[in-house]
């Protein structure tokens, strides 16, 4: 692969590129799903190719091909330079890249069990057992399970001399039970919705998730939701479980801190951001208890945003995003760093695969747990009246990331420090900074989970990327509840 990258870099240089990098990627995946006692889908996939990025006449060009023959790679490198020169016909200034010392490195996701060494029979047996547990509950009308593995091996080389070989493993699994009756469809998911839990781990993740142990309860909750009252409407104290808080972080912190959005580069599709440059180190994003980091380092955990080097060869870093409520940092790249006065990229440029241009992506955007010991049960005990909400059902936020609305699968009304009754169709909404400033408690490290969001869409052509979000359950005061079902 090193040789292949050299063919690309040599031709790019000969054709006039002032900078070039090449990513040769070999990708393998397994996707299994069951539905109502049968295998819903079973597929293996592999893909390989090379993506070549160049600066020519001060502008970017990118071309990718699946054919790794010398002739094809060299033609693709030439095409990248041609595209860069075409880009230069419509520019305001030359691209400027922050300096980065090129490295030669090897890195692999730490894992205990290579998921591809587990048998498909073993995988399906587990999923069908879960499916059976879900459907053993009377009233469950649809049971779905999934298990996914990915191995992504990448060789990155640049005209500056970087040569980095990384292999990432991703494992994910989850399930859902649906109950339909009358004029209502209710759903419960585990460990969380939309595919379950995903991490950069081996098969050991599957064993840690206690999938079978929770299946019957999830089925029972789905059916129970049909019979309980709707979540009350009004302004309430709410407690969010950690997975829902993870998605709240993703949408209302992770996206607005992407510097390409802030600078208008995503204005046509993903949108821009309310976090204009004047807000850096001046905006009170949240309460004193809100501490958020963007941390791609291994020591943060096996998140979907964990790596050793990003896709332009910058080492993984931890960037403080919110410190004691104050907004302190953006997600940056070599191209954008100087625009916020940084002399080095924050290391967040990533591509979906060999055929996509790397763009700024969330790494692991996590809220740090509370320092004082506090369990979820203690937090509930400390709450006079409120709603505890679990597991995302719907999510939406405006294109500057101010106004959001989330729906959850299940809620519990809290009265006098106790969960009193289950409620259905809970939802809450608000304005990002008002919301984070209303946080008055967060559970400690024992309750903290690093969740994986495997399906974050961004860019044109669109790219899907995995991101990580660590969170503990937290409490928010005076939050608007119930707008989703409000008929004004």
């Amino acid at each position: 692969m090193k040789q292949i990258a050299e063919w690309a870099l040599n031709i790019a240089s000969q054709k006039g590129a002032s900078y070039a990098d090449a990513r040769a990627v070999s990708d393998r995946g397994r996707a299994l799903a069951t539905k109502n006692g049968r295998v819903g889908s079973a597929s293996d996939s592999e893909s390989q190719g090379i993506g070549i990025r160049v600066l020519a006449d001060g502008a970017w060009g990118f071309a990718a091909c699946d054919d790794l023959s010398r002739a094809s790679v060299e033609a693709t490198a030439s095409r990248a330079v041609e595209i860069g020169k075409a880009s230069a016909r419509v520019k305001q200034h030359d691209v400027r890249m922050a300096g980065e010392k090129p490295v030669v490195a090897e890195w692999t996701t730490p894992y205990k069990v290579d998921p591809f060494t587990t048998s498909v029979e073993q995988n399906l047996e587990l999923l069908l057992k879960i499916d059976s547990e879900l459907r053993s509950v009377k009233g469950v009308t649809l049971a779905e399970t999934n298990m996914n593995f990915r191995r992504e091996e990448q060789w990155f080389a640049s005209s500056e001399g970087a040569n980095i070989h990384q292999t990432k493993y991703t494992t994910g699994a989850g399930y859902a039970a649906y109950a339909f009756a009358g004029s209502e469809i209710q759903k419960r998911s585990y460990p969380t919705s939309f595919g379950g839990q995903w991490q950069n781990k081996g098969y050991e993740l599957i064993e840690e998730l206690k999938l079978i142990e929770n299946a019957q309860r999830i089925g029972e909750e789905a059916v129970a939701l049909l019979k309980v009252d709707k979540c009350p409407e009004g302004n309430f104290t709410i407690i969010l479980e950690s997975a829902q808080l993870g998605l709240q972080i993703h949408e209302s912190i992770g996206h607005p801190i992407e510097l390409d959005r802030v600078l208008g580069m995503e204005a046509n599709f993903a949108g821009t951001s309310f976090l204009t440059l004047d807000k850096l180190r001046t905006l009170r994003y949240g309460s004193e208890l809100v501490n958020v980091v963007a941390d791609a380092r291994q020591e943060h955990g096996p998140g979907l945003g964990t790596f050793a080097y990003d896709d332009e060869g910058v080492p993984a870093q931890c960037t403080p995003i919110i410190r004691n409520g104050l907004f302190t940092g953006y997600l940056s790249s070599r191209e954008t760093a100087h625009m916020v006065g940084l002399d080095r990229s924050g290391g967040t440029l990533r591509a979906e695969g060999w055929n996509r241009l790397p763009i700024i992506r969330m790494t692991n955007i996590s809220i740090l747990p509370g320092e004082k010991p506090l369990t979820l049960e203690q937090l509930i005990s400390d709450t006079d009246h409120g709603i505890y909400m679990q597991t995302n059902r719907s999510w939406s936020i405006d294109d500057k990331r101010y106004n959001f609305q989330f729906g959850c699968e299940m809620g519990w009304e809290i009265k006098n420090g106790k969960r009193t009754c289950m409620v259905k169709n809970p939802s809450y909404s608000g304005i990002t900074t008002d919301f984070w400033n209303s946080m008055d408690a967060i559970c400690s490290a024992d309750e903290w989970t690093l969740w994986g969001t495997p399906n974050c869409g961004k860019g044109q052509p669109q790219q899907v990327m995995g991101t990580g979000h660590g969170a503990s359950p937290a409490r928010f005061r005076n939050i608007k509840v119930g707008s989703a079902y409000k008929q004004s």
């Binding site: 049968r38 293996d44 060009g61 990718a64 075409a86 309310f274 719907s394 079902y485 004004s488």
Partner: protein, 459 residues
């Protein structure tokens, strides 16, 4: 590009490598390119070439799929073996049907969707158009962001029963956002034929929307009559067509459970799935090679038809739902097997009004209302009431006394699709439209009463 004959040769080789009862090849690929601009600069500019093959094998009622883009002999052998290994370890699926030979199927004929001019478009030509779009932005003292893309692609299906289907297609698309200090405007268009795209015209409309919504005012949320431009209609409507699926009824996850044959929408709602329509796109066969039928899904507000893959139709015929779902037959809307979703209509064509109104006429007939260019981040809040939430974006105007008055801050809505399509007061002529939340459709602009806005954002 690879042609049908070469693909057939490849399939013959794959058949030799296989020991399965049946084997199917889905082959796809081509060249795509996209020029992306922002801040009046081309900041990303990409091209890609790829060919992939996806093999499905069947052993004794068990099936599985394996996919690769490596086409050397060893990789071909390996992908066949991967599919076979996955299939062999499963329990037989009693619903799995033998592959279709396609013999006796009446083929669906659509206009050619391959245009040499689109296929030949080079980065320099795209840059020339972007330069003109930037020129419009500069003329209006705005900045612009967007894309200009083109592609040429093929796809084909072959199976060991003798089926052979092939489709060539070109695509082109321009999407433009114009940004002012506190406002924005947007337009998007796509077509198999790049000659149908006019970047400068789109830029001028987007610019006028950005200018027209400058210094937006905040007005309270509540129920308003709205005039939805076609992109806004399609981004809402797209959320219901996944439910026009026999499999969704069998799974009891469709909002049409217990509602097929009932009048769910207004008299003026007529919707077809029609891949042959001149403004539609895509192949004329489904994931098993079955020809796509033209279906009237909704007639005068009544849900008439669902789509079916072959196995779904078979299963529905013996289900408890069989007498409540209208005609049951394979319609050519199935996805590649195996899958959990079954099928869905993907070539939606709305019927127009008997007395179509232009957007300007809708505005003129509005005492107080909101004109919406585009919607954003739409998600399903309630799957059976079909309540959707989302935001307005890039051109939201207050209309009073038959005229656009000023731009307003964007709203959040929570609106039921059933309610919305029961309250369409006026419609225009359907056009091919493109949004961001759903697939392209042929849809009219609509005036809808009592659209439910629940909150206002800060811009």
């Amino acid at each position: 590009m690879l042609d049908q004959n070469k693909a057939a040769d490849l399939f013959a080789k794959l058949m030799r490598y296989s020991t399965a009862d049946e084997i199917e090849l889905y082959i796809y690929g081509g060249h795509s390119a996209l020029t992306r601009f922002a801040n009046n600069t081309i900041h990303q500019n990409v091209a890609e070439d790829n060919v992939g093959i996806s093999i499905r094998t069947v052993f004794g009622g068990c099936t599985a799929r394996a996919t690769t883009n490596k086409l050397d002999d060893e990789s071909l052998k390996r992908v066949v073996q991967s599919s076979e290994n996955l299939a062999k370890v499963q329990q037989p699926d009693p619903d799995l049907l033998p592959m279709s030979s396609g013999r006796g199927d009446k083929q669906t004929i659509a206009p050619s969707r391959y245009f040499d001019q689109t296929a030949a478009l080079e980065p320099g030509a795209r840059a020339d158009v972007v330069k003109k779009i930037v020129g419009v932005a500069e003329k209006h003292k705005l900045t612009t962001a967007g894309i200009f893309s083109n592609s040429k692609n093929f796809e084909g299906i072959f199976n060991s029963q003798g089926l052979s289907q092939w489709h060539n297609q070109t695509s082109s698309e321009i999407s433009i956002t114009m940004l002012g200090e506190d406002s924005s405007g947007w337009q998007k268009s796509n077509s198999p034929n790049v000659a149908n795209l006019d970047g400068v015209a789109l830029a001028e409309i987007a610019a006028s929307k950005a200018a027209g919504t400058a210094h937006p005012r905040e007005i309270p949320a509540g129920k308003y009559p709205v005039i939805l431009e076609p992109a806004a209609v399609l981004d809402m409507a797209g959320f219901m067509f996944w439910d026009f699926s026999g499999m969704a009824i069998l799974d009891q996850r469709s909002f049409l459970n217990e509602r097929v044959g009932t009048k769910l929408f207004g008299d003026n709602i007529n919707i077809w799935d029609d891949v042959t329509h001149a403004l539609q796109s895509g192949s004329t066969y489904d994931g098993e090679g079955t020809p796509r039928q033209r279906l009237q899904l909704i007639e005068n507000g009544v849900v008439k038809r669902l789509t079916y893959a072959r196995a779904t139709a078979e299963k529905m015929r013996s289900s408890e739902h069989k007498d409540k779902v209208g005609p049951i037959e394979p319609t050519g809307h199935g996805f590649l097997l195996p899958n959990e979703m079954g099928e869905a209509p993907m070539n939606i064509v709305f019927g127009g009004a008997t007395d179509p109104k232009t957007k300007e006429q809708m505005i003129a007939s509005t005492e107080k209302g909101i004109l919406i260019t585009r919607l954003w981040y739409i998600r399903e809040v309630d799957p059976y009431q079909k309540i959707l939430t989302g935001m307005t974006r890039d051109g939201t105007f207050y209309v009073e006394n038959g005229k656009i008055q000023y731009g307003v801050r964007n709203f959040r809505f929570n609106e039921s699709l059933i309610h919305m399509f029961s309250n369409v007061e006026e419609m225009g002529t359907p056009v091919r439209a493109s949004g961001e939340e759903s697939f392209d459709m042929v849809v009219p602009p609509m005036k809808v009463k009592d659209f439910n806005f629940t909150e206002v954002t800060k811009f």
